[in-house]
């Protein structure tokens, strides 16, 4: 006999990682957090009312030196979108800052690309 469903389709998706975000699946940054944006902890101390969880604090420790959003997610072993929500919280409270790195695309300058080739050759 089938087990009775304890939650059906109407309950919506049940995804455990989002328990860390209070069920929020989107950051409130309007999707502006790129994979390669660099996150860096500010010197601000969190206020009690900021209501931070252990994951928030881990992000703060990880980003004492600037680290890309992708690396924060990989190091925390949490899904990217969960990390985006947590970063949104930290940004809102002024506890981290973002730096958008210059992304190198096809239109970039030749000098930089040559530097990359030299750098790769020297690895």
């Amino acid at each position: 006999m089938d087990e009775p469903a304890w939650a059906d389709e109407d309950a919506g998706p049940i995804v455990r990682p989002y328990a860390l975000t209070g069920g929020r699946t989107r950051d409130d940054l309007g999707g502006r957090l790129d994979l390669l944006d660099l996150v860096e902890t500010t010197g601000e101390e969190p206020e009690r009312k900021a209501d931070l969880g252990p994951e928030h604090l881990r992000i703060r420790r990880l980003t004492a030196e600037p680290l890309s959003v992708a690396e924060v997610a990989a190091d925390l072993d949490l899904p990217l979108d969960v990390v985006r929500v947590l970063l949104g919280d930290l940004l809102r409270h002024g506890l981290v800052r973002l730096r958008k790195p210059a992304s190198v695309s096809r239109l970039t300058d030749a000098r930089l690309l040559k530097e990359v080739i030299d750098g790769l050759s020297a690895l």
Binding site: P79, L98, R106
Partner: protein, 191 residues
Amino acid sequence: MDSQPYSHDPVAIKIMIAGGFGVGKTTMVGAVSEIKPLRTEAALTEKSEGVDDTGHVRGKTTTTVAMDFGRITMREGLSIYLFGTPGQDRFWFMWDELAHGALGAVVLADTRRLAECFASIDYFEGRGLPFIVAVNCFDGARRHSTEAIRTALDLDPRVPIVLCDARSRESAKEALITLVGHVLDGVGSRA
């Protein structure tokens, strides 16, 4: 948002390592950098628009996509980020995020299953993103000339093809250097 001006903006170079499932993408990323798995939760019903058979995920509408992720630090403020694309077709939506702002892609191909890289090539051609094809020469894989492979892939003559061993650091470096050189040629031809 709090963003301070910096005198030397860091530069991030994003390179995608693409190709069919099991073709050696993980191996190649790991050959040149530390490798970390990067997870993302995907809402299948929203993103895949009915092309998926989601029967095997027991009616749930989300799944986890894992990608391989590596970083090579060239110097302070200049890093290369490598992203192994998710291999399965149902994760195409993730490619758009990865391709955004990317310098280019290495498409890994296995001559025993050449058709597996067609979709990657179509994707990069369609987006106009520079790419090269790196043919992973597994032990025992039949060697083909790069010209035979070019014909089989119906590849533009300007797209470089290299033979590589994804396990080898030197070989993976050479593939990346070939890609950056290819991008550089494009910069030159527009000047």
